[in-house]
């Protein structure tokens, strides 16, 4: 056995610890900012590459990045961005307007196969290019007026366009490197980076090491010179590493054990906040009897959201009746199914409201031809299982729904766990009865949620089509007046969540991250959970690294 220990000596890496160690989550699939889809990927690419705007650490909205200012034309369709004169890649090569033009064209080009190229639909010509209707990339509505000025032409007045410009797919990448190395340009060494950091090393399944980019226009604000982003799939391991001080920052709820969520949330170093995401379930409206809106509404009315949020998820999630979380760009969602119960302020009122909802549901079900659930075919609730804690929540929620449906409506719902890829495949082929769903917003505007249920959207996956809904959304897109636009969106959402109910919302997400506020600053709570790494810095005078994090006691129970 001693021999065994000696054998372990090789294979060591004794590099000094980075200034900041973040547990990032699963290994990044790619760090090409145009092509990536995962959140861990986005965090790395977001540190390496920047666009016209960047995310404000406080609000998560788009604020000046490589462009220091911009003007918007009176019809809201033309943006003129002014680039900083000191904008440069990490190799020292300056960044000019035609770098942006080339980058956006490359991202929109279907040959690049960027999943998020749908964002270019807001730009003139973007949809035609991305769908392959034209292969002339010059038709994209972006041009270089002069080396320091970029002009963008939009299809509709899009109030959240500056937020979109901060997204990874809009970042500027080094043309020469991409043309030389093709697809694998991110493995080039040196890799010219346009953002606050450059890539020092990347070991798959281990860590990504970043070092500060001296040529970044805001290099003086960058908090930590060296940052490690650990990749891994185990929330338990992440928590252990955090408790011993090996990791400074648990950046996402995904890397925190969900079974301990309710205990962790009460500690001063765990911070929860309203997050732009919703948990819901879908009906397959192409299958009987779910093609009948009354059946769907009945099932939606009976779901006990408060019970789910208080007994299963227990991290302070808000039960929801509408799809869009409140606060997205100043929008108030309409009231969906079951909203009356959610307005109750105490347990007695809630119970009374739920009883009324159950009666209404029973009435609807009887009207649809299944009094007391008689004659209703057995059906299943599909969800993805596997991967530990997070997926167990889906099962637990399913169990709650199952007992609720049986008790109140006499319906027999089976639980159908499948593994992830099978889940996705069944979902797109509409091979399910009910399926669990969730959506995280990309930007702070309700359309990021509502666009999913357009008839033509690939994210719809319910088989539901409504021309009224589609028309309302396209009217809203063309509407320049913000108040009227919100009204149109509310009307559309009311169809989605109250009248037709192809989906039923359960709760809005709560984000969670962990760091010691006595030692670190620069991390803020915002709706989209954007925590730009450059803003994180050591707090002056804070305690040095110690092993006490395990002893930080939870706050006393309320």
């Amino acid at each position: 056995m001693l021999v065994a220990l000696l054998l372990l000596a090789p294979g060591c890496s004794r590099a000094p610890r980075a200034d900041l160690v973040i547990y990032n989550g699963p290994e990044a699939e790619t760090i090409d900012p145009h092509v990536l889809t995962g959140q861990p990927d986005g965090r790395i690419a977001g540190a390496l590459f920047e666009g016209l705007t960047r995310f404000d650490p406080h609000t998560g909205r788009g604020v000046p990045g490589l462009a220091h200012s911009w003007e918007i034309s009176s019809d809201g369709l033309r943006y003129t961005f002014h680039l900083r004169t000191n904008a440069a890649f990490s190799t020292g090569k300056p960044i000019r307007a035609d770098d942006f033009v080339w980058s956006w064209r490359r991202a929109a080009d279907p040959v690049t196969a960027a999943d998020y190229s749908g964002f270019f639909f807001y730009v003139k010509g973007g949809q035609a290019i991305a769908t392959g209707a034209t292969n002339r990339l010059e038709e994209l509505g972006i041009r270089a007026v002069d080396p320091w000025t970029v002009e963008v032409t939009l299809v509709n007045p899009t109030p959240f366009f500056p937020d979109l410009c901060a997204m990874r797919i809009m970042a500027v990448i080094p043309r020469a490197t991409v043309e030389q190395f093709g697809d694998q340009w991110v493995r080039a060494d040196p890799l010219p980076c346009s953002g606050p950091y450059q890539l020092e090393s990347w070991r798959p399944n281990d860590r990504v090491r970043l070092k500060a980019n001296p040529h970044y226009w805001d290099a003086s604000s960058v908090g930590c010179a060296r940052v490690d982003l650990l990749s891994g799939d185990s929330p338990t391991a992440a928590l252990n590493l955090y408790l011993t001080g090996d990791v400074d920052f648990l950046i996402d709820k995904v890397v925190i054990p969900s079974e301990l969520g309710d205990v962790l949330v009460r500690r001063p170093d765990f911070h929860s906040y309203a997050y732009l995401g919703t948990y819901f379930f879908r009906f397959n409206v192409t299958r009987k009897p779910f093609d009948d809106a009354r059946v769907r509404r009945a099932i939606g009315l009976v779901v006990d959201r408060r019970r789910i949020v208080e007994r299963i998820t227990r991290m302070g999630e808000q039960p929801a009746s509408a799809l869009t979380p409140p606060g997205a760009g100043g929008y108030t969602p309409p009231e969906g199914l079951g909203h009356r119960a959610l307005r109750a302020t105490n347990a007695a009122d809630y119970a009374a409201a739920m009883r009324a909802a159950v009666l209404e549901a029973q009435r609807l079900l009887a009207e649809a031809g299944y009094p007391e659930g008689k004659g209703f075919p057995p059906f299943s609730y599909m969800f993805n299982a596997g991967g530990g804690g997070g997926a167990r929540q889906h099962e637990n929620i399913g169990v709650e729904m199952q007992s609720g449906l049986r008790e109140h409506l006499g319906l027999h719902m089976e639980l159908r766990p499948v593994e992830w890829k099978t889940y996705l495949s069944e979902l797109s082929q509409l091979n399910f009865d009910l399926a669990r769903g969730s959506w995280i917003g990309d930007y702070q505007d309700p359309t990021t949620f509502l666009d999913c249920f357009l008839s033509a959207s690939g994210n719809n996956r319910t088989g539901w089509r409504s021309t009224r809904y589609d028309t309302l959304l396209s009217d809203a897109a063309a509407e320049p007046e913000s108040q009227k636009r919100m009204e149109l969106l509310r009307e559309a959402e009311a169809i989605l969540t109250k009248e037709e109910a192809p989906i039923v919302a359960i709760y809005t997400y709560v984000g969670l991250f962990a760091y010691d506020p006595d030692r670190w600053e620069g991390i803020y709570k915002n709706l989209t959970g954007e925590h730009p790494i450059w803003a994180i810095r050591r707090r002056e005078g804070g305690p040095t690294r110690s092993r006490n994090t395990a002893e930080i006691a939870p706050a006393p129970a309320p």
Partner: protein, 280 residues
Amino acid sequence: MISAAFLAVIILLALLVPWLSPYGTGQASDFQFSAPDRQHWFGTDVHGRDVFTRVFAGARISLLVGAVGTAVSLVIGVFWGMVAGYVGGRLDGVLMRAVDVLYSLPSIVFVIVLITTLEGHVKRWIGAWAPDWVPAARMLFLFTGLGAVSWLTMARIVRGQVLSLRTRPFVLASQSLGASHRRILLRHILPNVTGVVIVYLTLTVPAIILYESFLSYLGLGIQPPDASLGTLIAEGAAQINPLRVFWWLIVCPGAVLTFTLLALNFLGDGLRDALDPRDG
């Protein structure tokens, strides 16, 4: 024979408790996460379900999985290994290389493919003549799949034993006396590999049960709200943390599994001692 009695007690419990218990295995209540007390001997879980009932219902499933899977692995593995080891030469080569080939293939993909391609068909087929048995379809696949994976090592171990046995004096003597191969296999070789086989069987049962829990972890195992001991343990593993421990969620299923397997092992020992022929 204390172990036999112990095992019998556990099996009896596994059969009777879910029937006799005042709580159903899926019966939710408002008392989440309550520690063991007089009403709930093993406490309750996240849905307020009685853990005692669930543990023994789970034991029932685990024993079934273990039994069927092990039986499959026993039959195929022993036969395969005996033939390979005894005949030797080219046949041995072919049979053992086949084992190697099957062993190298990723079993998870195999299970996924099996479940996703065939489960639908089999469910419909069973649903046609015995609708109540449809939920068992998934379990059927599990048993078959698990058994199909574990016979490989059994075959290899048996073959190893047989290789050294076939040059023993008593075997050579039988051969020179003109005994048929079948007779030699059944009367001389088989009894002598019984020992190793039984031991390996007692190793296979926990391996199968644990593999099933690994599959559940990946979303391929027993479907909820049913749970096997392995699933309950996998869920309970989250309780091993420094912050908040609902100890009964891991200790109770874990203890039941450990005691059951211990009893099984000592039983196997006794069985082998009883069956083992003396050399000479």
